[in-house]
């Protein structure tokens, strides 16, 4: 894959990571305040889950260039 494409993928990864971390943090705060008596662990759990989702997305995105896609399989 070209350098430009790779750079764009990394930019998307970073932005995605920040977004999902923020979302996880927000949801963690909501759940912690509402159900878990303002403890810290839901916040950590949800933020970690968000980071994990971002990592998986990034991994998929970076690998997708080297994997055969459905349209190619149909051609075969």
């Amino acid at each position: 894959m070209s350098e430009k494409e790779l750079g764009k993928k990394w930019d998307r990864c970073l932005a995605d990571g920040v977004t999902k971390l923020g979302t996880g943090l927000g949801l963690g705060i909501v759940f912690s305040v509402l159900f878990f008596k303002r403890r810290t662990w839901p916040i950590t759990l949800f933020s970690g889950a968000g980071l994990g989702m971002a990592y998986a997305n990034c991994q998929n995105d970076l690998r997708s260039h080297y994997l055969p896609h459905r349209s190619q399989k149909q051609e075969l």
Binding site: R12, C13, A15, D16, T19, K20, T23, G26, L27, V30, F31, L34, F35, G50, M53, A54, N57, C58, D61
Partner: protein, 113 residues
């Protein structure tokens, strides 16, 4: 009777709020693929400044708050410049080190003479 229903009502309210938050997060694509996430970020960036302006006008704080100065600071450019500077100094480091060593040795030799 009200004393028995009240905890249920509280629980129902909490579940509604939490469920609504999860629904909004999933629906706006914040928890989807990276493209959806970046779309959501773009939408948020487009929406925030006008919303902020509206709020300021609504609260009548226009006269009090000074206008935000246009910042010409770009973190991306600073980061890239920093990376370039680091790598170039790392690549020049051995040459410079040997230069300085030889200069220092020369200086010491001159002192000893």
């Amino acid at each position: 009777m009200a004393a028995r229903i009240w905890p249920l009502v509280k629980l129902a309210t909490k579940v509604t709020i939490a469920g609504g938050a999860v629904y909004v997060a999933c629906d706006s694509g914040l928890l989807g693929s990276s493209e959806q996430g970046s779309e959501a970020l773009e939408k948020a960036k487009a929406v925030v400044p006008p919303a902020l302006q509206e709020w300021i006008k609504y609260f009548g704080l226009e006269a009090q708050l000074p206008t935000m100065p246009k910042m010409e600071f770009s973190p991306v450019n600073s980061w890239n410049a920093g990376v370039r500077w680091t790598i170039s100094s790392l690549s020049e480091a051995p040459t410079k080190a040997s230069e300085y060593t030889s200069q220092g040795l020369q200086y010491v030799k001159d002192l000893i003479k």
